[in-house]
Symmetry: C2
Subunit: 218 residues, 2 copies
């Protein structure tokens, strides 16, 4: 069974892929026999229950057992779809991230193509900030160990940022990509926002300022 079917999106899906990889549901693949109705229903129950759990409790306390209990399914059923709690969060987060990914490629400027790279980077920062603001528990739940960098979504952000950096004529863009993305780490956002009590706007201003300095206008 592929990783995608098991809930943890494979890197290739978002990695770059022409038209956004496969945005359609997995079962559209003719090679896949067709998923049973009860399995589909269970998966939906799991996702719904998990979203609530992650939102209402400390993401680090969410175990496979709790998710299964909350979804009203057995442990093995849960394991059939997801290997661990963070992959459930990743799947959930995925839906929200895909919308942004679509906007980055096809949407209107400054998020989409057409605006100067510095402005697009600023817009990207702001959009990611919104994503974090709205779905912080999921973003935190999706972070287990070095998962942040191996997740398909991170690969997508990398490709996007790289494009902007190249377009902006910075030197050695490849060495700068992950530095540009580092202020968007969920754990960091949480610390700034709730530990330090910074407002969304102050963080946003700092990030747009950073974008402006990183990519010289022109």
């Amino acid at each position: 069974m592929s990783d995608e079917q098991r809930g943890r999106p494979s890197a290739s899906v978002h990695r770059v892929g022409g038209p956004l990889g496969d945005l359609q549901a997995p079962q559209d693949n003719p090679a896949t026999p067709r998923r049973r109705a009860d399995a589909v229903r269970n998966r939906a129950q799991i996702l719904a229950a998990a979203e609530q759990l992650f939102t209402e409790h400390d993401p680090r306390t969410i175990t496979m057992d709790r998710i299964a209990k909350a979804a009203g399914v057995g442990r093995a059923t849960l394991y059939r779809s997801f290997p661990d709690p963070s992959s459930v969060a990743v799947a959930l987060l995925d839906e929200h991230e895909r919308r942004l990914q679509g906007q980055l490629i096809y949407g209107p400027p400054p998020l989409g193509p057409g605006a100067p790279p510095a402005e697009r980077l600023s817009a990207f920062y702001l959009a990611m900030l919104d994503l974090l603001e709205r779905h912080l528990p999921l973003a935190l739940g999706a972070e287990v160990g070095p998962d942040r960098y191996t997740t398909g979504a991170y690969g997508f952000w990398r490709v996007h940022v790289r494009t902007l950096l190249v377009e902006g004529r910075v030197s050695d863009p490849d060495a700068l990509i992950d530095i540009v993305l580092s202020p968007l780490a969920p754990e960091l956002f949480r610390f700034q926002r709730h530990g330090m009590g910074l407002s969304r706007d102050r963080i946003a201003s700092s990030l747009t300022g950073l974008a402006r300095r990183l990519i010289p206008p022109g």
Copy 2:
């Protein structure tokens, strides 16, 4: 028993403290009865064994049990000094970080006082990169959950960076501190260095470039 004695350095130790907090050993405190020789010996054994474990194995697989076994002590003895594996790594890392902390305050420029803030920030980036390069396993082992931001050492780096940002006349320095520090996350360094195969020098160049752009010369 204080946190410091239990291995996890309290925030105040590094936070800023006049002469570097208390750099001398804990037992110099007259209020502390005096530690028994066997306890001191055990602690040293634990640290030595743990350093080797963290260096030679995946930091995430290091358990309290393994450390105790490797050090030749019982589990409870280990728990007496450290609450979890990451705090052992923190204690180990601490020794190396204190040297750098001393240099930042008392050392010669550009690391210490005297150089323009942009240059001092660059020097700080390079020194931190060296620390990561040399002690990456410990740095990774010290990272469990949101510990990065609650550790005493992180507080020290914050104070230092804040000073430089204020001196460099950037707008809203407090919102920029953690953004400036974010590219130094151990997990990120690991990804850049070993996942992406970037050389130390390319990362260094990107960071010094970043420092130059963030703090305008003058």
